[in-house]
Structures are given as structure tokens and as C-alpha cells.
């Protein structure tokens, strides 16, 4: 493993302005203004605050945390899709590829055409994609369905195609948001091996996953987010253990009050 940094975050904060981002209707707007004329101060929500970390090339890092703790926002900030509102995040590499469930496919076009479209987003030239086409199709195991429109694909098929494209376009930084959890077990195992190959080639991988087993098997370190702040960042098995026991404890504490 090398020690060149791939992603560096310093005091990273991301703010959502709820007045702009929350869908409102004129009726609700007037109703709120009527009830509480001075409610403007509470419209900011910090999805991430004061996040510091270094991720090295060749490392695979998992992000764990409960729903709404800022995991996806952190991946989007690393990908440069949303900007930092405080502090900064620096990535070293040509580009970061972010993969989420239901990746950005054009539903009417075939899987093959979508490979070219995704390549265009990743700034690849058509003749580079020509060369990558066969390995991508083979890895995705889509066979003849590669020429069917993506709208007819299942969620698993889309995830397979998305991962195959991302894993073969030589990403310096690969960001995966829950994509591998929808594939079948065999494909998951194959993808896990492919991720190991990528980190072996000094590429950085950051995974958001709720499968703690997958994290322990795949990742060297884990970052635990809680309400937008880093609670723990250390060896994957240790952080996952602590996270699992904390989750179990909070379930046990909640159980008497909510007997379900």
C-alpha cells in the first residue's frame, strides 16, 4: 500500500437550505407565514459538519451510520457533485466515479448505448469505450439483454451494468452507495474481488453499505458518521463491532417503549 493521499477532508461541512430544497406549495408557505411570521432562522440544516479525514490511494474505506447520518451526502461531496459550504475537500485523481442505485441511465436506450453515454459523462472518447465494451458486457453477465432498453432491466441488472462500467473505466476514486447489496450473492462476490483488484492498483474505494459482513471482508478502514459528524474512524473490524453493539444497545433501550 502506498501512502499518497487520495481524498483529504478538513473541517468539511455541507449545508442544506431547507427553504430552497424542501418542496413547498404556495398554500403551505402562506399557512406557515401566518402561523409564525419569523421562522426564517431555522431553515438551515447541516448534513455534514466538521468532517476531517485522510483516505490513501489503494485503500478501501467503508462509511457506516444510521439512515440520515450524512453518508450519501459525504459521497456526493467527495464526487464533487455538491460543494463544501465550510472547510474543504480535496481529491487527488482525474475523476471520482459515484455509483448509486438506479444509476443515471437513459431508460429508452439500450444497455450498450448507455455504456457509451456513461463513458461520455466520464470524459472517455468513443474509441476508448469501443475497447472497454467487451469486458464491461462480459462482467455484467447481461448477455443478449445488453441490446434491450434499460427500462426493461431489473434493479439488479441495472446495478450490475453500473458497477461493470465503473469498475472498467479505470476510476482513480470509486464511490459506491449501496449498489452491491442489490446484486445476487455470486455477483456480489465477483464485485468484491474486482474491488480488491482496484485497490491493488492503488485506486481508492469508498463504500456506503449496511452489510457489516461485506465491510469487514472488503474494507481496511471504516468511518462511522452520526448526525453528520465523524464518531469513529479506524480499522474496519473494530469500528464495525462498536457500531453493531451501539445499534444493538439502542434497540434494546428503545424496545420497552416501543414493543413491536
Amino acid at each position: 500500500m502506498t501512502t499518497t493521499p487520495a481524498i483529504v477532508a478538513r473541517g468539511l461541512g455541507v449545508r442544506y437550505n431547507l427553504r430552497l430544497t424542501r418542496r413547498r406549495t404556495l398554500r403551505r408557505f402562506l399557512a406557515e407565514a401566518w402561523r409564525n411570521p419569523r421562522s426564517h432562522s431555522t431553515s438551515d440544516f447541516w448534513a455534514l459538519r466538521d468532517v476531517d479525514f485522510d483516505i490513501l490511494s489503494g485503500e478501501s474505506v467503508a462509511i457506516v451510520g444510521r439512515n440520515g447520518s450524512g453518508k450519501s451526502t459525504l459521497l456526493m461531496a467527495i464526487a464533487g457533485v455538491i460543494a463544501a459550504d465550510s472547510g474543504r475537500i480535496t481529491t487527488f485523481g482525474r475523476r471520482a466515479t459515484l455509483l448509486t442505485i438506479g444509476a443515471g441511465f437513459e431508460p429508452e436506450l439500450s444497455g450498450r448505448e448507455n455504456i457509451y453515454l456513461n463513458g461520455a459523462y466520464l470524459r472517455l472518447r468513443p474509441r476508448d469505450i469501443d475497447r472497454l465494451l467487451e469486458p464491461i458486457i462480459e462482467f455484467s453477465e447481461l448477455g443478449q439483454f445488453i441490446d434491450a432498453p434499460v427500462k426493461d432491466y431489473s434493479t439488479g441488472m441495472r446495478a450490475r451494468l453500473g458497477f461493470s462500467i465503473a469498475a472498467h473505466t479505470n476510476p482513480e476514486i470509486l464511490l459506491l452507495d449501496e449498489v452491491l447489496s442489490v446484486g445476487d450473492t455470486a455477483f456480489q462476490e465477483k464485485s468484491r474481488k474486482r474491488l480488491m483488484e482496484l485497490t491493488g492498483q492503488a485506486q481508492a474505494v469508498v463504500v456506503v453499505s449496511h452489510s457489516l459482513d461485506f465491510i469487514v471482508k472488503t474494507c481496511s478502514r471504516a468511518l462511522w458518521l452520526e448526525r453528520g459528524e465523524v464518531l469513529r474512524f479506524g480499522p474496519a473490524d473494530e469500528v464495525v463491532d462498536e457500531y453493531a453493539s451501539a445499534a444493538a444497545a439502542s434497540n434494546a433501550a428503545a424496545a420497552p417503549e416501543a414493543p413491536v
Binding site: T100, L109, L117, Y121
Partner: protein, 272 residues
Amino acid sequence: MSEMALTPESALAQQVRYVRELAAELPLIRYLAGSSLRVESVNLWFGFLWWCLDPLLMMLVYTLVVSVILGRGTPNYPLFVMSAMLPWNFFVRATRNSIADTRAKTRNMRQVAFPRAVVPLAASLAELVRAIAALGLFLVFAIPFGVYPSPTALLALPLLAALLVTTLGIAFFLSAFNLFVRDTERAMGHVFRLWMFLAPVLYSTQQVPARFRLVFELNPFAEILEGFRSVLFLHQVPAFWPLAAATAGGLVALVLGFTFFVSTERAFAKLA
């Protein structure tokens, strides 16, 4: 290396850098434009034939209403209408598709960092290709009416440039604005319809009563549409200064619309 700049840039320097990044995305713009043209025709029996059918059918409808039923048409009324309606349709379709694509592609915007202005540019490029095909078709279609192509038709190219900058300005502004107020897309259908009836598409500006004419000429599209009609159909060279003023107005719209789009696009991924 995508390290963030540590020294703050001036607003102008930011714009210049943005335009340079945009120029580097030309292959993506081309690919998106091509795929949107393909997507549109892939589910249709007649496929690309609709490029010809759309304007022909629209022309038939207006000729039927104005010329046959109301009896208010001018000589060669189908050509009169179509020579202004083709550029008008370019404006409507490019703007409408820019707004819709910018909304629909927020999913891609949450995954890939690319200059967001790519999306309205690609939508407009696709419509530009279609408009050029339709204008070429118009020249062929005019021959059976005894209207032969004349060298003035070449002046349609600078007119197209004036139309394009005005359209892009409006499309950039509305595409960004619609993400904050989604009613925009819905309302534009009505705005476009009213705007068309107030523009010299079905009639010429000369037919407007003199006391209203000034109001009609404030429409940025009035001069441009009349210009298309005169170079394609009447074979006259339009007056230079009114068109230059319309083009200057279009450039101002482009700068304002583009600036609004670029200064709000940082928030797009958060709005999805």
C-alpha cells in the same frame, strides 16, 4: 488533479474558467444531443420521418383555419406561415426540452460532476439540427408553389445565430429557475401559446394596426421571424439595424440567463 482553488477568483475569471470547462465538454454535448434525437424517434413507427411530418401537419392546420375557414390568408399562405413557424418552433422546442432535461437529469447531476450548462446546450443543439433539416426541407417544399430558392436564403444563417443566442438566454434562465419553482414548466405551455399569437407567425407585422405596432415590435422575436420570412419566402434582404438591435438584445439575454444558471447550479444536486 481537482484541487480546489485557495485564492478567491473574481466573478469574471470564474465565468471564463467555466466557459473553458464547457468547451472541453463538447463531446458530451454532442453525444447527449445525438442520444436525445435517437430516444425521441426510437419508439415511433415513422421515426425520423416526424422531422418532416411535424411542420407539415402544423402548417396544414393553420392553413385550414386561417386561409380556408376564416378566408384571411395571403398568397401562398402555407409558405408564409411555415417560413416563420419553423424558427418559432425551434425556440419553443429548445426551451421546453432544456427545461425538461435539466429537471430530468438531476439524477445524473447527483452522480457526476460536470458543468451543468451542458444539458440546455445539448437540448438546444439537438433542436438546432432538426431546425436546419426543416429549413432545408422548406426550400424544397416551396418549389411546387413556384417559389424557387434564392441566394437571400443564405441570410438565414446569421438569422439562425441571432435566434440561437436569444433562445439560449431564455432557456438557461428558465431551466435553472424551474428547479426552484417547478410550476414554471407547467406555465410555459400557456406562455408559449400566447407568445406565438402575439408574434408575427400567422400574420405579418404590417397587418397589425399602426397604434399597436410599437408594442409588437418590442417582442424580441418579431424582427427575427419577419427576417426569416423575408429571406426564405419573399426573397428580400431585411433591414439591418432592427435586426442588429434584436441580436444585441439576444446577446444581453444570453449573458444574463447564463450568469443566472451558472451562479445557481451549485445547488442543483441538492434540489433533486
